[in-house]
């Protein structure tokens, strides 16, 4: 089949290799796959008979892909019924992904809220393994409480090479800060970055909004900030209209936007 008349709505069956229960309601599914994807892209995951949902790729390997799902509805609940050896149905990858080339050689600050860590996890791991590609990495990662912490092993590992601020909104445990991620923006010495830096922000809409405003207090230029959006999607290929904001289609032009653009995207 040629690319042009290939049916882009039909998914491919991919076998589940492992399931990691990060929290009660957030599990990471590793599936066999040969899809070529970039960090920050997403796939349409489907369960025939139930439906489809856009899910970020949380890790990419040679023959596998990870998805970290929160069970919130029809499709995601049904996926939680699956076991190793069962199949998930995938199409994609979709979206623009992180501007990896542009981020290289810079001081990078990642600010994530909750499951917002999933879409940057593979990028963080790539930089962890190739730390010489960046000047430095600061990671501010927040979760609601102790029960909602994701990727515990990796959070621990990243401490070796990244400057980290891990925080819980309203819980205090050993080794963790307490408070919202926005409280930790002041800890970053932006002046020491020689204007050679980028800030990546991913999380729930309110978190991204207030983090954006907080960054402006420290005169972080709009061009240096990147955000990842989530919108309702039914096709991921620019046809169904659900994800549109003005002339922008989040599924095609996003989900990652520079703040210069993101700040003008008013639904």
């Amino acid at each position: 089949m040629t690319e042009q008349n290939k049916n882009h709505m039909i998914p491919t069956a991919c076998k589940i290799i492992s399931i990691i229960k990060e929290t009660d309601i957030e599990w990471t599914f590793r599936v066999e796959s040969n899809f070529k994807a970039k960090h920050g892209q997403f796939m349409q995951l489907s369960v025939p008979k139930i439906g489809e949902a856009p899910i970020s790729i949380s890790e990419i390997g040679d023959n596998y892909m990870d998805f970290t799902l929160r069970a919130v509805g029809k499709v995601t609940n049904d996926i939680f019924e699956k076991q190793v050896g069962d199949y998930l149905f995938l199409r994609g990858p979709y979206g623009n992904g992180w501007p990896s080339e542009e981020l290289k050689g810079k001081h990078l600050v990642f600010i994530t809220g909750g499951t917002g860590l999933a879409p940057v996890r593979s990028l963080l791991n790539e930089f962890y393994d190739n730390i010489d590609r960046v000047k430095s990495i600061t990671l501010i990662s927040g979760f609601k409480n102790k029960e909602s912490i994701l990727f515990k092993e990796e959070l621990k590992k990243w401490k070796d090479k990244f400057k980290t601020f891990y925080t819980l909104d309203n819980d205090s445990i050993e080794g963790w800060n307490c408070g919202l991620v926005t409280n930790f923006v002041k800890e970053i010495d932006f002046n020491s970055f020689d204007n050679n830096y980028a800030v990546v922000v991913v999380g729930p809409p309110v978190m991204m909004k207030f983090t954006g405003l907080e960054l402006k207090k420290y005169n972080v230029p709009d061009e240096n900030i990147w955000m990842s959006f989530e919108r309702k999607m039914s096709c991921a290929i620019g046809k169904c209209g659900h994800c549109r904001i003005d002339e922008t289609y989040v599924c095609l032009d996003g989900p990652i936007f520079p703040y210069t653009k993101a700040k003008n995207l008013v639904d």
């Binding site: 008349n5 039909i10 729930p204 039914s234 169904c240 209209g241 289609y249």
Partner: protein
């Protein structure tokens, strides 16, 4: 060159065309309208040219031929998928200029937005030819001339119905042989030059004005008037949105299909994501989203005309008598107000 023939002759002239093509055209369905004793006109497959409703604009648009309200994408058995089959025959579609223009607008979204063309759309569109229906000038809700959608040269045959005869003009040589023996006359399609209503769409000069306009108070009127029923988008020839849905056959729980179904940005839940509250949760916000798509966003994306062809169907179908014409007037005033205020500041 044109041809003339009378009603009695049409069936024999068109029988070979009807053999080769599935022909879709406006048709009147008596007593199926919204009020008792009113008719409804909509697109339907026809078997005789004499079935066609020539004089009245259809309540629903020609888009239903290309994008059915409810369309099967593929069938699935446990781990296998089979694409739904395309129509077996090519399609001949009778349409007025506004409806032909509307299909070109839709096709930008289905075929040119993003990297991939929508195969379900293209497999029909690539096998479709238009019969241009002469428009008698429409009604008091039409504003096609204001939108530049009163003319088109995208047609294979043009047809005009007279009292007892049809006039035909042929551009596509494929259809020439069928009419060889008809009376030859001079006939070329006429296009409407003036509607009862005319309006201008004010340009929104930049993002600042756009975002201020989104918060202008005039939209709030629709919180009281619009009931978010979506009727205006279902009948609109340029609206394309859909949602996918899986169904299972009750006899065999392992087999089913994925469908897509018309969606409307005017209906609650269009942007609702799991676990989050709806983004545009008021009728005024949904109205503004629709209107700005029609008169700003689409043009901005595709660098072409606006997304409305001025067919006026949304005005007819709205149960609350909301007129897009007066909405545009109010929006124009709001744009002026914002621009003037910004100049003064």
């Amino acid at each position: 060159m044109g041809y003339k023939f009378n009603f009695a002759e049409t069936d024999s002239l068109f029988c070979n065309i009807l053999e080769k093509y599935d022909v879709y055209a406006p048709k009147r369905f008596p007593k199926q309208g919204r009020y008792s004793d009113t008719d409804i006109t909509r697109y339907s497959q026809i078997k005789s040219i004499n079935e066609i409703e020539f004089n009245q604009k259809t309540d629903y648009s020609a888009k239903e031929v290309l994008t059915p309200v409810n369309e099967t994408l593929f069938y699935f058995t446990e781990n296998e998928f089979k694409e739904s089959s395309a129509p077996k025959k090519p399609i001949l579609l009778f349409a007025r200029p506004c409806d032909i223009n509307a299909i070109e607008i839709q096709s930008k979204i289905y075929e040119e937005n993003g990297e991939f063309s929508d195969i379900y759309y293209s497999r029909i569109k690539n096998n479709l030819k238009f019969v241009l229906m002469d428009c008698n000038g429409g009604d008091d809700t039409c504003f096609c001339t204001s939108m530049g959608s009163n003319v088109t040269d995208n047609w294979s045959i043009a047809i005009k119905q007279l009292e007892n005869d049809y006039l035909l003009s042929i551009k596509d040589p494929e259809f020439e042989p069928y009419f060889q023996n008809c009376e030859k006359v001079d006939f070329l399609p006429n296009f409407v030059e003036q509607n009862k209503v005319s309006l201008t769409i004010k340009e929104i000069p930049n993002k600042e004005v756009l975002n201020e306009l989104k918060h202008h108070h005039f939209w709030s009127e629709y919180d009281k008037r619009c009931i978010s029923c979506g009727a205006c988008t279902i009948c609109c020839p340029t609206c394309t949105c859909f949602t996918t849905k899986d169904i299972i056959y009750s006899e065999n729980q392992k087999v089913g299909e994925r469908k897509r179904i018309f969606a409307s940005c005017q209906i609650e839940g269009f942007d609702t994501m799991a676990g989050q509250k709806e983004i545009r949760n008021k009728a005024s916000e949904r109205m503004r989203y629709k209107i700005l798509h029609k008169f700003h966003d689409y043009k901005e994306r595709f660098k072409t005309k606006h997304m409305c062809v001025g067919c006026g169907r949304c005005i007819h179908r709205c149960p609350e008598a909301i007129s897009i014409i007066s909405t545009i007037d109010k929006m124009n005033d709001a744009i002026d107000e914002i621009i003037n205020k910004n100049i003064q500041e």
